[in-house]
């Protein structure tokens, strides 16, 4: 046995990858395949599927009702990504400028929110944002700063706020990793060649940190697009995203095939967005 393995490095490799492969096939590929197959079947009246081929579910995903929610979700996800980038980049840069022993502390601080369940943290936001009993509005009105409570809850503002809060750390970490690897002598070289601060950033730092920006953006954009806990809680059930529509198809409307079709559409869009973004980033990154 040992000898066989020693003589066949390829076999060794396959054996190493086997556990993960089996896991992924059973728990990732097969469920995905079920979703794919279901999206072409007819619905049972109260859930389940009828084994009858149809393209109606896929056609229905372009129904303006659902497609407009979908576009709105894309908009919210892009907005969340941009805000996270604007907040996260300076933060990541700040951390890289600290002495080495402090950096780890900052990174640890970034990770601390993950020690508490996301659902609980989202509910905590409710205590702050509620229109009439939330901490922010109660403080502001009792101090006489505002007369009418601010519309902080049950709208897109609350959803984007909740999403940025939730995903900001995963934007910061890859950018930090990219910036930390950045060779400082390149910055000095640029300065020696009389580049201004803005030029150093635009021509040296930004292009070299781009892989981190791309990774961070994808890590924020993808879960934001599929978000469903945040809009369900902070949107007050009034502002929906595509994730809520999909979960409703399964948990309320008994329409599994349509829920599957919407999921497929979402995955296709995510994949396309990812590919386009990577191509763009690759081109940008290669140019000096």
């Amino acid at each position: 046995m040992e000898q066989v393995l020693r003589r066949n490095p390829a076999l060794r490799g396959w054996l190493l990858v086997l556990p993960a492969a089996v896991f992924l096939i059973i728990f990732f590929m097969i469920p995905l395949l079920i979703v794919f197959v279901y999206s072409f079947l007819e619905r049972g009246t109260y859930g389940g599927v009828i084994w009858q081929f149809t393209l109606e579910n896929l056609a229905r995903t372009f129904d303006p009702l659902y497609f407009s929610t979908f576009l709105r979700s894309v908009y919210i996800a892009i907005l969340t990504t941009l805000i996270s980038l604007l907040l996260g980049y300076p933060l990541a840069y700040f951390i890289t400028t600290r002495p080495a022993h402090q950096r780890n502390l900052y990174v640890l601080a970034l990770m601390i929110p993950f020690w508490t369940n996301f659902l609980i943290r989202t509910y905590a936001w409710l205590t702050l944002l509620r229109t009439h009993t939330g901490l922010i509005n109660v403080s502001l009105t009792s101090l006489g700063i505002i007369e009418k409570p601010l519309p902080l809850f049950g709208n897109d503002f609350a959803i984007v706020l909740g999403l940025v809060y939730g995903w900001l750390p995963v934007m910061v970490l890859p950018i930090y990793a990219a910036l930390e690897r950045l060779d400082k002598s390149l910055i000095e070289a640029a300065q020696d060649l009389y580049a201004s601060g803005a030029q150093v950033f635009r021509r040296v730092i930004w292009p070299l940190s781009l892989p981190g920006v791309v990774a961070g953006s994808m890590l924020v954009f993808i879960p934001s697009l599929g978000a469903f806990v945040t809009p369900a809680i902070l949107g007050g059930g009034k502002s929906l995203m595509i994730g809520n529509i999909i979960s409703n198809q399964f948990l309320a409307a008994h329409d599994w095939p349509f829920g599957s079709a919407l999921s497929m559409l979402m995955m296709i869009v995510m994949l396309l967005a990812t590919l386009i973004y990577f191509r763009w980033a690759l081109r940008e990154g290669v140019q000096p």
């Binding site: 009246t45 859930g47 994808m218 059930g237 529509i245």
Partner: protein
């Protein structure tokens, strides 16, 4: 650094995020376990003198069962007492709508010995073969049920289900800030200068919210007429800007805390909220509303051991004192005639719990929509996405 390689690495990272996103966190509470406090009250079961069918093998009850129930619908003490009496531990898991319960069972969820669907969902579950027939020999306390609950229209003779509690759907309000709403118009015709505008919720439940709109328009709450349903949908969309949200879980707490002033919801929930704020009140508007009966049933996916333990628990709930204990906890009317002896006169005469006859006659059961189910859901999607 090779750019291509790092890009590939990032792609892998992004893909794993995609998987994460697909998994998503479902807000699903862990089965909770009640704190221990002994207080045994077990009346010995009296076997009914019926010709017992030859049982193939002696079944021992399961040591631990899971009850799939609405949240805060049962006094956790009951679990402790039941465990003291029988040695069977009851764990609880919660759902927040009949549709969710149905979807989970249809999706193949197992491990539940008992479920608590409402009337119309019982009909659907019977049709879909999701319920197991109850063995009445194990539930001698069925005799404690009121006559009208022994012959409920959706399950005459309690073949599959035993009524658990019953109640109505109407409007709860903060009585120190809002006058008693006479009509559903307070929700559907709210004006921006009304104090409750933007401070009310409707149930996040297609059938319940449509029922409210339909009853206000003077239509049957079980209509399958598309024109009437479209009209109800337009009404719901019209009312949406005045709503703080759609909420089936915390609507009563939000009225009690002063966040909201009005809520479309279930009577008992508001009555429980009176403990936090005595000004919370409940009314069925003059146009009428929904009456419902929640039932405790055994899903067909339960093992024989779970089923037996489940039936023992149903029998325990039907005891006079336990039935009273249940109503004292959740403030819903009991279908248990024997329990009334142990309930306060104040509770039994509360019109918010036991509606007077003139209100009762304006209340209707929700019935399964059948083929119109997808129409209801499609219109509800339109309301929620508007």
């Amino acid at each position: 650094m090779s750019n291509r390689k790092s890009m590939l690495l990032l792609l892998v990272l992004a893909l794993s995020a995609l998987i994460l996103a697909a998994c998503g966190a479902t807000p699903q509470p862990e089965p909770t376990q009640p704190p221990a406090k002994p207080e045994p009250t077990q009346v010995p079961a009296q076997p009914e003198p019926t010709e017992a069918p030859a049982e193939p093998a002696k079944v021992e009850p399961a040591k631990e069962i899971v009850l799939f129930n609405w949240s805060e619908y049962i006094d956790p003490e009951i679990y402790t007492q039941f465990e003291e009496a029988t040695g069977i531990k009851v764990l609880e898991d919660n759902f927040s709508s009949n549709e969710e319960l149905l979807a989970k069972l249809q999706g193949g969820a197992t491990g539940y010995a008992l479920i608590v669907p409402s009337d119309y969902t019982v009909s659907i579950m019977m049709e879909e073969g999701l319920l197991a027939k109850l063995d009445h020999d194990n539930i001698p306390n069925l005799k404690n049920l009121k006559e009208e609950f022994k012959s409920v229209p959706y399950d005459p003779g309690n073949v599959y289900c035993v009524p658990y509690q019953w109640g109505t759907t109407g409007i709860g309000y903060e009585s120190s800030q809002v006058d008693e709403p006479a009509s559903w118009a307070v929700i559907f015709e709210a004006k921006p200068d009304d104090p409750w505008y933007g401070r009310m919720t409707m149930l996040d439940d297609a059938r319940e919210s449509f029922a409210a709109a339909l009853v206000y328009l003077g239509y049957d709450i079980n209509t399958t007429d598309e024109a009437q349903l479209q009209e109800a949908k337009d009404l719901l969309i019209k009312a949406k800007p005045g709503l703080a949200g759609y909420d089936s879980d915390t609507f009563e707490d939000l009225v009690a805390s002063g966040e909201n002033l009005l809520a479309h919801g279930w009577n008992g929930d508001f009555l429980v909220a009176q403990e936090d704020n005595e000004n919370v009140a409940y009314v069925v508007p003059q146009e009428g509303g929904v009456v419902w009966v929640d039932n405790i049933c055994v899903p067909s996916s339960a093992t024989p051991e779970e089923k037996l333990a489940g039936e023992m628990f149903i029998n325990y709930l039907l005891e006079a004192e336990v039935g009273a204990q249940l109503s004292e906890y959740n403030w819903y009317a009991s279908p248990n005639a024997a329990a009334e002896e142990f309930l306060d006169e104040e509770f039994l005469s509360d019109p918010a719990v036991y509606p007077p006859p003139e209100v009762l006659e304006k209340l209707q059961y929700i019935e399964p929509a059948g083929e119109a189910e997808s129409l209801y859901q499609r219109l509800w999607d339109e309301v929620k996405s508007s």
